[in-house]
């Protein structure tokens, strides 16, 4: 890197896992969003169909896009934290083992 970040952050062993997970979750949401846009373009009348409690598809789908975004975000965070903790634990164990080996050799 050609200049330092404002606050240096250490190596992140979970980086690749998070990138892959992010792409999957983004793809899912992008499809969900595309579905909303597609219904509006292909069959706009369908948006007026009442789904439940007197609410139409436009309202239900619109709220769902907001709520699903939050749920996905929470799931993503939980999975990232779990992986980060798991890899951190592994890293510590590995570090401890190599230290013990070094001590044994010396």
């Amino acid at each position: 890197m050609l200049h330092e970040p404002a606050t240096p952050s250490g190596k992140d062993p979970a980086r690749l896992y998070k990138v892959r997970l992010g792409i999957w979750m983004f793809s899912f949401y992008a499809l969900f969003y595309a579905g909303f846009v597609a219904i509006n373009l292909i069959s706009p009348q369908t948006m007026g169909v009442i789904i439940f409690f007197g609410l139409n598809l436009a309202t239900v789908y619109g709220f769902a896009l907001i709520i699903v975004a939050l749920l996905e975000a929470l799931v993503y965070d939980a999975m990232c934290r779990k992986k980060e903790a798991e890899l951190e634990k592994k890293g510590k164990k590995k570090h401890l083992k190599s230290n013990t080996k070094k001590k044994g050799k010396s």
Partner: protein
């Protein structure tokens, strides 16, 4: 009351900035608040930064006038955070230092990237600043009784003070405070709307008597046009190109314009409101403008589930929405048309149009999803730009540098999604509340949310107005930090390599803040009258076109080169701005006919975003590099 709360808030914010001034003595402190902001504070500050005048004033105003189509902005703006969280948040934090340009250039040290990314930051920030400043003028004008231009100047001066004293530190806390207050008091306003319920004769809680507009029957005998009721004299008839017909009539010495409407062969004259410029004199509804003669606030329900003279009383969340969705609920919305009369007067008529609830509560009134293929493409283009624009806004991206590590960047994005998502759900209720409570200013829908608050009392109006003002301060501060960073850090320090010590770098940032603030004031005055949400939509299109392809490809395509990034930014800026400048909406602003616009689309994203991606790929393949990207 409103003025007192407003000034208390301003004094508090400036005091806070002066107090935090010590934290902005170094570059890191000024541009990134030292990278020490807690993720939860940063998350709410994200919301404070993002929920701009466009969200609060613009979206509520648009929902109030065109129903669900305004809510599409809420959905698109929120969905964009998914791109920010899953794709951009952590890598941006890992790569960047103070600005968006830092992240793009982290692995290249390219003069091209520095220059064009900085220019892109400036253009996007200024595009975004315009609607905020327009919103500031709109808000301060009725609140303090000062002209639009002075409102813009005052807001500009306060924001420059905030940014110049403590940079990102004060900006963060102003945004945090504003985000918190906005969500709390918007919830209070929505609660008040639901408790009041719906009425076919809204009277603003008994404060403003409901005004019943008159309909008159008319007949045609040969070429002669006659009003069935006696005492009315027809003076003039105006037939517009759009097919609209207006009739000027006199009754008991008062002249006024009426909307001629034909349905099933029956001619009806509907009472309107009008603004007529006779030379320099402004006449409203047939009499000279005065404190007692202004345009009446409008919009109400004509029928609730097929019945007239109904007051539902308290309603639940679903009941409120379901009642408005009913096809037998009729809303009296208002449109406007401008023309020049036979006598040379400039006339703007605000005329009523009844729309059924099922049409109000689904897309179609503004965005013609059932219209021509071109109109549908325009809708698709808007939704694409909203989805991809958020993660490319420089003033949002720099918030990632204020937290200590990538995990904090992720967590603060999640807090932002929760806060922003909740607020956007509230916008639907606030907008529909304004639509059904007769509180819309027909000449400017941007004030719908504060005027809705006023219908519940001066105290709520004062608080909501102060929060709306804070909304503008928070967002404008963030934009000025981003733009001043582009000038002082990206251009002066890194592109031109002007030797500066840390103190001089901070001073350069402060001077830049003054310059950008001055430009923002000027543009805020020039663009008076445009819907602020529409203008922000355009800023999203420019950001999504110029910045997003570079960010995405930098992170996910190893063959991306510095020249590819620079070229894609140039193409994104030129194509998106060029298409906007030649669009029908801008032609209206120039005073030309929208039909003469060479580009038929109002939203350029569908063309400019793919073109920017293609440019990056082609140029990168033509200019292979030696290094390897590490995101």
């Amino acid at each position: 009351m409103a003025v007192i709360i407003f000034f208390i808030f301003v004094v508090f914010v400036i005091g806070l900035s002066l107090y935090l001034g010590n934290r902005a003595k170094t570059s890191s402190g000024y541009y990134a608040a030292g990278g020490k902001i807690h993720w939860s504070v940063n998350g709410i500050a994200f919301a404070g930064d993002y929920l701009s005048a466009a969200s609060f004033l613009g979206i509520c105003g648009m929902i109030a006038t065109v129903g669900y189509d305004g809510f599409l902005y809420s959905i698109g703006y929120l969905a964009g955070w998914i791109v920010a969280l899953f794709v951009v948040a952590e890598p941006m934090k890992r790569l960047g230092k103070y600005t968006f340009t830092d992240a793009l250039d982290a692995n290249y040290n390219s003069r091209g990237i520095k220059l064009f990314a900085a220019i892109s930051t400036l253009i996007v920030s200024i595009c975004y600043l315009i609607p905020q400043m327009v919103g500031a003028g709109v808000l301060v004008e009725p609140l303090l009784g000062i002209p639009h231009a002075w409102g813009v100047i005052m807001v500009g001066a306060i924001v420059i003070t905030i940014v110049a004293t403590a940079g990102m530190a004060s900006t963060t806390y102003v945004q945090f405070l504003k985000g918190t207050l906005l969500i709390i008091f918007s919830s209070v306003l929505v609660g008040a709307v639901l408790i009041r319920g719906l009425s076919t004769q809204p009277d603003q809680g008994g404060k403003v008597p409901f005004y019943q507009y008159t309909n008159l029957e008319a007949t045609m005998s040969g070429d002669q046009f006659q009003v069935s009721e006696p005492g009315w004299t027809v003076l003039e008839q105006a037939s517009l190109k759009s097919g609209l017909e207006f009739v000027k009539m006199e009754h008991e010495g008062l002249e006024g314009w009426w909307y001629l409407y034909e349905h099933d062969g029956v001619l009806t004259l509907k009472e309107t409101q009008s603004v007529v410029f006779k030379g320099n004199e402004k006449w409203i509804n047939g009499a000279p403008e005065s404190v007692d003669n202004e345009l009446r606030q409008v919009s109400n329900l004509e029928q609730i589930r097929g019945e007239e003279n109904v007051n539902t009383g308290r309603l639940g969340i679903f009941e409120f929405l379901a009642t408005l969705t009913d096809k037998d609920t009729i809303v009296r919305t208002w449109k406007n048309a401008s023309f020049v009369s036979e006598g040379g007067d400039k006339v703007t008529v605000y005329y009523p149009k009844e729309v059924s609830g099922d049409k109000i509560m689904r897309p179609g009134l503004k965005f013609k999803v059932e219209g021509t293929p071109l109109e549908r493409i325009d809708f698709l283009s808007l939704m694409l730009a909203l989805f991809l624009g958020t993660a490319a806004l420089p003033h949002i991206l720099i918030r990632y540098y204020t937290v200590p590590n990538p995990a904090s960047a992720r967590k603060s994005t999640i807090v932002a999604i929760a806060a922003i998502g909740f607020f956007y759900i509230l916008t639907l209720f606030m907008g529909l509340g304004a639509m059904t409570n007769g509180v819309i200013n027909p000449a400017d829908n941007n004030m719908s949310a504060p005027l809705l608050a006023r219908s519940f009392g001066e105290m709520l109006f004062a608080i909501i107005s102060a929060i709306a003002f804070a909304t503008i301060l928070g967002t404008v501060s963030g934009l000025i930090v981003a733009a001043s960073g582009a000038i002082a850090h990206d251009l002066f320090d890194r592109y031109f390599k002007i030797k500066m010590d840390d103190r001089q770098k901070v001073n350069a940032g402060k001077i830049s803040a003054f310059v950008v603030g001055g430009i923002a004031i000027l543009l805020g005055i020039l663009f008076k009258g445009m819907n602020v949400s529409f203008l922000v939509g355009l800023a999203f299109a420019v950001a999504a076109s110029a910045n997003l392809p570079a960010i995405i490809m930098l992170l996910f395509w190893k063959k991306t080169t510095a020249k590819g990034i620079a070229a894609s930014i140039i193409v994104g800026i030129v194509v998106s701005l060029g298409m906007i400048a030649l669009s029908p909406e801008l032609f209206s602003l120039y005073g030309l006919s929208p039909l003469d616009a060479p580009i038929p689309l109002s939203n350029p994203g569908i063309v400019s975003i793919p073109l920017s991606f293609i440019t990056l790929v082609v140029v990168s393949l033509l200019t292979p590099k030696k290094g390897i990207i590490k995101a």
